[in-house]
Amino acid sequence: MTPIAALIDPVTPFSVPFMGRPLLLLLALAIAAGTVGVLVNLRRLEFSTDGLTHAVFPGLVIGAAIGGAAGLMPGAIGAAVVAAVVLALISRRGQPRDTAVAIVLTSFFSLGVALVSASGGGSGSLSDFFFGRLLSITWGDLGVSLALIGIAVLLVVLTARPQLYAAFDPAGARRAGLPVLALEVVGTVAIALVVVAASASVGTLLALAVVIVPTAAARALTRSLAAAAVVAIGFGAVTGWLGLWAVVQLAVLGVDAAPGATVALTMILGYLVALAIGAARGASSKRPAPAPSRAGVAS
């Protein structure tokens, strides 16, 4: 194959396992984006999700201290689930949600920093977790991540209808007797599991991008909920694949770009394109007298 063909070949790079595994993980995360990510978007939980990415930190430190690299994932899962429950409970005690998130974020993160400094500095695997190790994940890591994503997607799909009610009209859901607090805990735990799974690939600091950007882009392009979910999955899959492909091409050019950050930037670029398309469509559809939504109503 000529160098030029290799440069534009979209498939071959992924036939080797160290590229195939990250691609598989990013595709699974795309499915999470179209389910768990939609829940985050509808409930405006972006800041909570950010809080969860930071809350994972002390779990990593404790996990590393107990089990080395093998302890990272269990530690992260434990911390994320605890943070998710604490978050849901604090916001229920009359604190504004942003206050609750800020408290959980800072307390968990500073606990992590204190633990690291007490134990004499971080290890290399900790920085892996912050910035991801997309190209070096093992089949074992991938298996755990896929299992976490599977559980998270299942939790959201099973509770989808009451979750939708609680997101649309929380006061109405409470009046209707729905278990709003339990729904919130289930939803936040699902988000936490995806955050941990995404941490393995793009790192905790960029996990937020994988969870929220595809749905944000989909909302810019679509009006219906089902379409938003489908577009978010497609968006996550395409930008994930494009991002990895960019990593390969940059490596060929001799640029050693951080894979997780490259994927996140690709998603942001895709989001900007989606915003532009949405805005252009909105502008062109405003010209005919009745807006398209009204026209649909009248028919």
Binding site: G94, F168, D169, A176, G177, L225
Partner: protein, 268 residues
């Protein structure tokens, strides 16, 4: 005479501190509409919250439907994001959720949802995005959501506020039909004409119960004046006002008084 769906005796309602409303005894029978009337801050919203278990109560007798979905509600206003990507049909289908739990809706549920949309006269809008509907249509949509739960008891909080004449007549017609189907209704309103039009009995409150009887007997000058002691109200063309709060008259029109009841709203 049909069985009471709600039976309350010697009840007080509140949020932990001193009761907001006390000395309440009333009942609502199947197929009956009861009007709940009182000035702002009288405890009407607290009473509704108490029936739903969202406010505290102490009572000698306290019987309300307790199974999920048996009480439907129509709030005074809802904080709903107009950009939320749901259709009217999806919103009304939410009304089935309390009965379905985690089950997915079947054909019967879909028919109930379609009937509820039909009942409020919005069949041609069922595919419209909820946020694109007018205020009155959204309110009717939320009523359809309550109906989709097939409630035994329906709590309507100021349902006639801000409705144009057409929507008002349609809502009155819906209330009559629901009564015919045996649904018990408790309706808060400032509009005494509407109370007379559809409500068999009236519960008049202002921090305590002033009266509970046939609507015509309750809505007398003396009793309404007692309930609205520091407010202004028109009844049968007479303007009632006490010496305090005269300036409030400028804010109120016709028979309709605005109800903010913010202080009595359940805490989030």
């Amino acid at each position: 005479m049909s069985a009471p769906v709600v039976e309350i005796a010697d009840a007080s309602f509140g949020y932990g501190g001193a009761p907001v409303l006390s000395g309440v005894s009333f009942e609502v029978r199947a197929g009956e509409a009861v009007a709940l009337i009182g000035p702002n801050g009288a405890g009407k919203s607290t009473l509704l919250a108490g029936l739903l278990g969202l406010a505290q109560h102490e009572a000698r007798v306290f019987r309300v439907p307790s199974a999920r979905g048996e009480i439907g509600t129509l709030p005074q206003s809802s904080e709903i994001d107009p950009a939320f990507p749901v259709t009217l049909e999806q919103v009304v289908a939410m009304g089935r959720t309390p009965r379905l739990g985690l089950k997915w809706p079947g054909r019967a549920d879909k028919r109930i949802v379609a009937d509820a949309i039909e009942a409020v006269g919005l069949a041609e809008h069922r595919g419209a995005r909820f946020g694109d509907l007018s205020g009155g249509q959204r309110q009717r949509g939320l009523l359809a959501r309550a109906l989709a739960g097939e409630p035994r008891l329906l709590l309507l909080d100021e349902p006639f506020n801000g409705l144009d004449h057409g929507s008002r007549d349609a809502l009155l017609e819906t209330v009559r039909r629901l009564k015919g189907q045996g649904v018990a209704l408790l309706i808060t309103t400032h509009d005494l004409d509407l109370a007379r039009a559809v409500c068999d009995r009236t519960l008049l409150v202002n921090g305590r119960q002033i009266a509970f009887d046939e609507t015509g007997c309750v809505l007398t000058l003396e009793r309404v004046e007692a309930a609205f002691a520091s407010h202004v109200i028109e009844i049968d063309g007479h303007t009632l006002a006490t010496t305090e709060h005269h300036e409030a008259a400028h804010h109120h029109h016709h028979h309709v008084l605005r109800d903010d009841d913010a202080a009595a709203a359940p805490p989030r």
